[in-house]
């Protein structure tokens, strides 16, 4: 009895001291978060209404003028639609491809390990290195892809130098690079689907397609939802392909919002404009995430 009381008080004081220590443990985290994440986010809002002159480090308050100008700004509008087009191609393609690849890896096959390795290699290789390769691989006149197509008597597209093809090609390359991640996560979800459910549906005479739609898909819908969000956020931030392959061209056709931010900030030193675009990009992210968050009730099934 006595012992128990001692232990209890000791535990209670332990919990109290753990909480105290918790604050101490959290201090570096809080400082880091304020300095490198929360601070910059707040500061970027400030930067979008304050003009910074990098030459003499002077600040002038300009108000919401930059946001108002964005609405009529041709560059911004074009970049907005380019970002949207990129998303419309990149998001469904990456998700469907990832799911398809996961279904392949989940089937009863030989060499599954090797196939899996092939599927994830682009995801783990250095992005810029693969872009340097794509640049030559899709060379409009001499590249191996077009040489092959021409040898078949086709008239192949000019890819990165064609204003209609450039953005879709960049989106496909983005998918190619990222899909390994989606494939692995879908695979994990598929492996969590109990086999007896499938067998039961099979005995009831459900076709493979119906089995997928009514048994498998509801069970992997939480993963699908998570991946949908990740893919939207990632797609909005796409930048590497534009920076290395097209520099936003030809004639602005691959300038997305992220590339616009980069160009205005670091080539034209206009941080106010870049910050305003950044704030809009952030707002778009929040809206898209919120819409999907609300929409998930219709199709995401939590066990």
């Amino acid at each position: 009895m006595y012992n128990r009381i001692i232990r209890k008080t000791r535990y209670r004081s332990l919990e109290a001291s753990e909480r105290m220590a918790g604050i101490v443990f959290a201090i570096p985290s809080l400082i880091g978060f304020l300095l490198f994440i929360a601070g910059p986010i707040l500061f970027v809002f400030a930067m979008s209404v304050i003009r910074i002159n990098l030459m003499d480090n002077s600040f002038t308050y300009v108000g919401f003028r930059y946001f108002q100008n964005l609405i009529e700004d041709g560059d911004f509008r074009k970049a907005f639609w380019n970002t949207f087009t990129y998303l419309v191609i990149y998001v469904p393609l990456t998700l469907l491809l990832g799911l398809g690849m996961a279904l392949i890896l989940n089937a009863k096959l030989y060499f599954r390990g090797i196939i899996r390795t092939f599927f994830i290699i682009p995801y783990v290789t250095t992005y810029i290195a693969t872009l340097v390769v794509w640049n030559v691989f899709l060379h409009p006149t001499q590249g191996p892809v077009n040489q092959l197509l021409m040898s078949w008597g086709l008239n192949p597209p000019q890819y990165m130098i064609d204003i209609h093809w450039a953005l879709p090609v960049l989106a496909v390359i983005g998918s190619w690079k990222d899909v390994g991640f989606h494939c692995l996560l879908f695979l994990a979800a598929l492996q969590g689907v109990p086999r007896d459910l499938h067998e039961a549906a099979s005995i009831d005479g459900a076709s493979p397609l119906r089995r997928f739609w009514h048994v498998t898909f509801p069970l992997i819908s939480p993963t699908s939802f998570f991946l949908l969000l990740i893919t939207i956020i990632g797609g909005l931030q796409a930048f590497y392909q534009m920076a290395l392959l097209t520099k936003g061209g030809p004639s602005f056709s691959t300038t997305t919002l992220t590339y616009l931010i980069y160009r205005t900030a670091f080539e034209y030193n206009n941080f106010t404009y870049a910050s305003a675009v950044g704030v809009v990009l952030f707002a778009i992210t929040v809206v898209l995430v919120a819409v999907n968050w609300i929409g998930q009730k219709k199709w995401v099934f939590y066990q």
Partner: protein
């Protein structure tokens, strides 16, 4: 043929088909390897020859290893990545322990705020960071690359999840032995966190190795370039020397690919286990 034999043959057929699909998927990388061993005049040759076995050109690699800044860039990449990963792990472990195990009053709310910032595009907070580093005079140093990498909300989240289910008995046993919270963390908890730390370390290694935006805006001197930026500048400078570019791309990929192939199993498992939480 019996039924099982037919089954086996269809299975083999399907397997070979999907093996081919996988191979097509990585064709650009195979082509890269093949081209890196050719002379410039052979890059776009028709008919295509995979490797000229009797006349393999090693000079691209020789050139890169002796006359280009490749080794400097590789060193920079290794330095930035390794230092960033170590600090990131330490930071994430201490923070994760505070939010997942110790749980001070209000930790839930603070952590929810942390998570909300995951929606902010990273390009956004690099703008003020650029201005701040300029004022601090650390632009064009490796510090500008390492510092922002240390604080990573996703890593904190990952370790918080781990510490939430960490067995309290272990820690209490340490308390009974006379360890304080700090001593027990560094002596008992940290060594027992080996597995998630390694997983997080691998994932972070890949991510930081791949970074291109940060060096692009923070660095000017080519002797400080990391590999992705080095590759870009090399591509601009050697616009038409494609075989050399392919060799450099190969060299840039080899370190990460080696890490991946060695740790493939763990890497795959870790991705799978982190993903399930969504």
């Amino acid at each position: 043929m019996t039924a099982t034999e037919t089954f086996r043959w269809t299975k083999l057929g399907k397997s070979l088909f999907f093996l081919a699909v996988g191979l097509i998927f990585v064709t650009p990388l195979i082509w890269m390897l093949s081209t890196s061993l050719k002379y410039e005049s052979q890059v776009f040759e028709t008919p295509f020859v995979f490797v000229h076995w009797d006349n393999i050109n090693w000079s691209n690699y020789e050139y890169l290893l002796t006359e280009s800044p490749f080794l400097t860039w590789l060193g920079n990449s290794l330095l930035v990545t390794v230092v960033s990963v170590i600090f990131r792990l330490l930071f994430a472990a201490v923070s994760g322990y505070a939010f997942g195990y110790l749980r001070f009053p209000g930790s839930g709310v603070v952590f929810a705020i942390y998570l909300m910032t995951l929606f902010v595009p990273y390009q956004l907070y690099l703008l003020p960071q650029f201005v701040a580093y300029r004022l601090l005079g650390i632009l064009d140093t490796h510090w500008a690359l390492i510092l922002p990498n240390i604080v990573d909300v996703l890593s904190v989240f990952f370790l918080r999840q781990f510490y939430m289910t960490f067995p309290r008995d272990f820690v209490h046993a340490a308390y009974l032995e006379g360890c304080g919270v700090f001593k027990s963390f560094f002596r008992i908890v940290l060594p027992l966190s080996y597995t998630p730390l390694l997983t997080l370390g691998i994932l972070s290694f890949f991510m930081i190795w791949d970074q291109y935006y940060q060096p692009l805006i923070f660095l000017k001197s080519s002797e400080l370039f990391t590999l992705p930026l080095g590759l870009h500048s090399f591509q601009t400078q050697y616009g038409h020397e494609y075989a050399k570019q392919m060799a450099l791309a190969c060299l840039a990929i080899i370190p990460v690919l080696t890490v991946f192939l060695i740790l493939q199993k763990r890497f795959v498992e870790s991705l799978i286990s982190t993903g399930i939480k969504g």
